[in-house]
């Protein structure tokens, strides 16, 4: 996964973006991140999958990732090479799935100041989002220690493997 402290383009979405809008249900017969990436936001923002680049960020309003438990949604963003997701708030299962996949996520109430196309980056340890285009920074909720460990180890799989081999 690319380094979230490196600046990347922000793709800005609104409130209540549910998992059907991130990965329309007709495509989730696949579990392949690269394949899923080609359909990410397909109905909502058809140009996304063609133009997103490795190191870009998804930025959203309230309750991002609500709806189903499908891990296909964060996985499609991993497949698209997204460095991290910044939202004013997250639905629980999406947040959890992202952490488990090692996809950095930050809850950032000031994320609505970010415009589409701004260059942003994340400081995960400190819980800060930088907006390089506007020269601003926004406080985010730092991840609790346990979740930081999970993200740092690369997600739940790596964490569990390490635990099993102890």
């Amino acid at each position: 996964m690319s380094d979230p402290s490196e600046p990347g383009r922000a793709w800005v979405f609104g409130d209540n973006i549910d998992t059907d809008q991130i990965t329309p249900s007709r495509f989730i017969v696949s579990s392949d991140p690269d394949e899923l990436a080609t359909h990410a936001f397909e109905d909502l923002r058809p140009e996304f999958s063609g133009k997103v680049e490795t190191g870009d960020f998804v930025v959203a309003g309230e309750n991002f990732g609500s709806g189903s438990s499908r891990e296909h949604s964060p996985l499609s963003l991993v497949g698209a090479g997204v460095s991290g997701v910044i939202a004013q708030s997250f639905a629980r299962i999406f947040f959890r799935n992202a952490i488990n996949l090692g996809l950095p996520v930050l809850i950032c109430p000031g994320a609505d100041a970010i415009d589409d196309g701004d260059e942003v980056s994340m400081d995960i340890d400190a819980g800060i989002v930088h907006n390089h285009t506007k020269g601003e920074q926004y406080d985010a909720e730092a991840l609790p220690e346990f979740l930081q460990t999970l993200v740092e180890q690369g997600g739940l799989k790596a964490y569990t493997k390490a635990k099993l081999s102890e």
Binding site: N16, D20, D43, G67, R70, I93, T160
Partner: protein, 437 residues
């Protein structure tokens, strides 16, 4: 220290710690479930974490269902089904196949879940198990795959939001109306990261099939779990379903001095039948506000309201009648036993006589995959749980959510209709059991 909520008690018990809201714990899982969509990804995780030949943490408490794309609507779906069959057979887990029914209906009916269990399902409506007093919660495939290997999973202990309802529901008003109102009041994300807890005399008097509706839709307000404290009614229900003795643990309730995030109180008499307007479950209004809205399709089914009592209620209303000429009705029983009881009791005949289409048990068009998806500009009234844009088909289609009684009444007139104008029953838990015996 103050007392504990049921959520705190259960996670304390399963983690061997003194768990309080906000703590992170690693807890032992009692039951794990995945289906044809989420299973394949979980299997990959399992194989990656442990190596393919490792054992499941508890094959006898692991259940896989084939319900979402069942029967298969394409080659990839069929391949996913085979992946479920192979993994289940290889590891000796329980597996339910095409036509056996929706995961959440099957797990409850077959008695896999008991009060006080910690149940994870790779499906967001796994909150359903709270209706019988289990901590049921939806997780992703990575969660499930690793938990299948270790029998444990991390949790943030949730705060609890309590919904307290006193009094008697009016005729034509059901648990579905209550939960739509709760979601309307706290909002679609109002209970995010929290457990919902439903109590009070109204809830205590509800049969289990209605309690399951409340817990099922906890996720539509963001809830991590949705509890009804188990009581003797719960035990009776489980004993009838399974034919086994189920012990009653009288500590499975929140302590009186437990700390809640908030408590929301209602009078049952005040509640009118509710309808959630497109395209969010939180758009709940009294049925009178949307009465007369023309509809194209009626959908009766899902893990929320596809049980026998729900479908029977619709059949009662349609008995000897025909669907209004402008509508079609798709009925999808939640489980094979529901399907069979419909056959045995004449419900099947009544519904087909009225003009309904009845499909094999499963999720049907609920998530827009197959068996009744909506076209552009179609308007559907459904007993389902979600009405997001495009949920049941075209992004231009619209879905209204309501109780089986409201859907049944509306079928007669081809427009959204107040069920209080038609005769409706409230079935207790013995109806289904009577057919069983």
């Amino acid at each position: 220290m103050t007392g504990k909520t049921l959520a705190e008690k259960l996670l304390s018990d399963k983690s061997g710690t003194d768990a309080r809201a906000g703590d992170y714990v690693e807890a032992e899982i009692d039951v794990a479930m995945a289906h044809d969509i989420t299973g394949p990804l979980a299997f990959q995780t399992f194989d990656e974490v442990t190596g393919e030949d490792a054992d499941l943490f508890a094959p006898d408490r692991t259940i896989f269902t084939i319900d979402h794309h069942a029967p298969a609507d394409g080659v990839q779906a069929a391949n996913n089904h085979n992946a479920v069959r192979e993994f289940a057979a290889k590891h000796g887990a329980h597996q339910f196949d095409v036509g056996d029914g929706i995961c959440h209906a099957v797990l409850v009916e077959e008695g896999f879940v008991k009060p006080g269990d910690l149940v994870i399902g790779a499906d967001s409506h796994s909150t359903t198990y709270g209706g019988i007093g289990a901590f049921g919660t939806g997780v992703g495939s990575t969660d499930l795959g690793t938990a299948l290997a270790t029998g444990e999973l991390w949790f943030r202990v949730p705060e609890t939001m309590r919904f307290e309802v006193e009094g008697e529901l009016a005729d034509g008003v059901y648990a579905k109306d209550l939960i739509l109102r709760f979601i309307g009041d706290v909002g679609f994300d109002g209970c995010t990261y929290m457990a919902a807890e439903y109590g009070g005399s109204t809830i205590e008097s509800l049969p289990i099939h209605e309690r399951l509706v409340l817990s099922n839709m906890a996720i539509e307000m963001g809830g991590k779990a949705g509890f009804v404290e188990p009581d003797l009614r719960t035990i009776d229900y489980l004993e009838r379903q399974t034919g086994e003795v189920v012990p009653f643990d009288d500590d499975l309730h929140s302590d009186e001095d437990a700390t809640y995030d908030s408590v929301h109180t209602y009078r049952a008499e005040d509640l009118a039948p509710q309808v959630s307007k497109p395209s969010n479950p939180e758009n709940a209004v009294d049925v009178t506000e949307v009465e007369g809205t023309e509809i194209d399709q009626l959908f009766v089914g899902t893990c929320t309201n596809g049980r026998y009592e729900d479908i029977k209620l619709v059949a009662d209303i349609l008995d000897g009648e025909e669907l209004a000429p402008n509508v079609r009705m798709v009925v999808v029983p939640a489980s094979k036993s529901v399907y069979q009881y419909m056959l045995q009791t004449g419900v099947f005949q009544t519904l087909t006589d009225a003009g309904a289409v009845i499909q094999s048990a499963g999720c049907g068009p609920c998530a827009g995959y197959h068996q009744g998806v909506l076209g552009d500009d179609d308007i559907c009234l459904a007993t389902a749980n979600r009405n997001f844009p495009g949920r049941e088909g075209s992004m231009q289609s619209q879905v209204y959510l309501a109780s089986p009684a409201t859907v049944g009444a509306s079928a007669l007139y081809g427009e959204i209709t107040d069920p209080r104008g038609v005769q409706t029953e409230r079935y207790d838990d013995t109806v289904f059991a009577e057919v069983l015996s």
